[in-house]
Amino acid sequence: MAEHVSTDRVAGPSALVRRLRTAGWFIARNREASTIVVAILLALYFYSTAPGFATSSNLVNISQEIARIGIVACGLALVLICAEIDLSVGQTFAFAPIIMWLAMSHGVPLIPAIVIGLAATAVVGFVNGFVTVYLRVHSFLTTLGMYFLINGLNVTITNGFPKDTPGPNIVTNGMGGSSYSEFIWLVALVVLLHLVLRRTRWGIHTLATGGNLTGAREAGVRTDVVKIGNFMACATLAGLTGILEAFRVGSIDPLAGSATVMFLGVSAAVIGGTSLLGGVGTMIGAFFGAGILTLLDNGFTLKGISAFTFDIILGIAILIAVALNVYIARFRTMRKPQ
């Protein structure tokens, strides 16, 4: 991607300055780069200061939390790139395992039940997209309404009581039950979605839809289809995360969903360089954004910082990360290569 990192031909600045400038330009050009650097620094910091950080059980914890935040963040990034938002992911997250349970309680076997659960979230995503695109309701409002609607459905269907997941077997182990299975899902999805975003027409059209809606439409991009499709992908990814989490915990909780699921997802995507204004975003950034949030949470907990203080630190960290992103974006446009 960055074959043409600017090499100054001017014979003025020293080699060091030039190298620094090239590095700065590289970081500015690759939106993920700064996020990756921060994630690595955080990992090193906690590795050397937090007791028990590098133990195998803690690494499992970290991998599971990154996956929980990261998969939702990737889905949200798709919607944010379209210059829309999906607040309802906090509840579609809990909806998928509940529908799966509902199907199973009617005699549907496990695997088809999982598919039905995911399909139900895809329908939720379709409704989000359809109302937003064709009824011209801002997606903030569409999905806010959907958040409460799904919350109500979750509690109604289950009568408010948690349900057991089917006992451990090869399917449930692969779907979140075994230690690293969630993380493997995350990595596979990040790779897949990165390819989709950068190397398929769908991805290019997604970036174009959010970057310049009129221009994309004029160029023949079916922006309505693109938006609805990404709402569906986002909801389905949130549902998948909910199913993975249900199998990990061994219980289907109607109250598993919350605004926090959504806020962490949006934060991870934005820390990773996705713009709330659309047109800009990366999957690898969403992955490392989730990494940063997880490391902060995990590391400060291990260091014995109280939950109250932790939220203050987390809030400040998010503000700094987002401000940095805006600054870097400005730096990018100021620096015009000639």
Binding site: R199, T200, R201, A208, G211, G215, K336
Partner: protein, 267 residues
């Protein structure tokens, strides 16, 4: 009122050469008559400059030709066929396109993805796009057109206004546009940038693949690149001359004369 040149019907031979004929177009917005029987023609490979004061109807005319507005009367003939232009995509399907500097491109996409937006090439038997061949074709085409960009990988948002305009024009021509409409292509551009665009227009003109109508307030530039100039005044074409038969002074005088009692222009 005005006894102008275009009133006489064009001889049949000339009609065959015309890629576009606009005849007696009328467009009203409420009680305002924007176009009052406008008639003009554009020959294949020709570059026509369209001048006129603000409010003369230039942009309305362009919007009718691109299918954005529908005329209240008159006919439009594209390559000898009567057409009803109902929408922008329909006009585009006929090979008519306007280039707007800031509307056309997606800032966060690279130059080559912008060049191929909506028409991406795909690797055979794969859902993946053929980035390498799109890059190569975009690079070669822009090189041919002498459009100067550091690399086709650069995001369009990082380019200057002139480069963006050049890429937008090059993209339109690359996608087989026959009639290109440029509304103030040089607005808000420095001398060097404007020269880039004028050079590009001249190069396109040499190739004779595309016919153009250029709206501009900068008459020197019109004289520089156009074959012919039309003046639109109060919704009518009142002047039509080849550039070698007119002069910068005459054009300036024509437009200014409106404020001195609006006497009819000579010739």
């Amino acid at each position: 009122m005005s006894v102008s040149q275009e009133a006489a019907p064009a001889p049949p031979l000339e009609t065959d050469e015309d890629v576009l004929r606009v005849e007696n177009i009328v467009k009203r917005f409420g009680s305002v008559v924007a176009l009052d029987g406008t008639t003009l023609h554009l020959r294949r490979g020709e570059v026509l400059g369209l001048i006129g004061d603000n409010g003369a109807g230039k942009s309305t005319l362009i919007k009718i030709i691109t299918g954005f507005h529908r005329p209240d009367g008159g006919r439009i003939v594209v390559e000898g066929r009567d057409v009803q232009l109902r929408s922008v995509p329909q006009a585009r399907a006929l090979g008519i396109e306007t280039v707007y500097q800031d509307l056309a491109l997606v800032d966060s996409l690279s130059v080559f993805h912008n060049m191929f937006l909506g028409k991406e090439l795909r690797l055979a038997g794969s859902p993946l796009v053929a980035n390498r061949s799109m890059k190569e074709r975009a690079r070669r085409y822009l090189e041919d057109m002498k459009v100067n960009v550091t690399s086709v990988d650069v995001e369009v948002g990082l380019l200057s206004g002139g480069q963006r305009q050049a890429i937008a024009i090059a993209r339109a021509v690359y996608s087989n546009v026959k009639i290109l409409l440029l509304d103030e292509p040089l607005a808000a551009m420095g001398a060097r940038e404007a020269k880039q665009i004028l050079d590009l227009i001249r190069r396109l003109k040499e190739r004779r693949e595309v016919s153009m109508i250029i709206i501009s307030h900068t008459y020197a530039q019109i004289m520089d690149v156009c074959d012919r100039v039309d003046l639109l005044r109060r919704g009518r074409i009142v002047f039509d001359k080849r550039v070698e038969d007119t002069s910068l002074e005459e054009l300036t005088e024509l437009v200014v004369s409106e404020y001195r009692g609006g006497e009819e222009p000579p010739g």
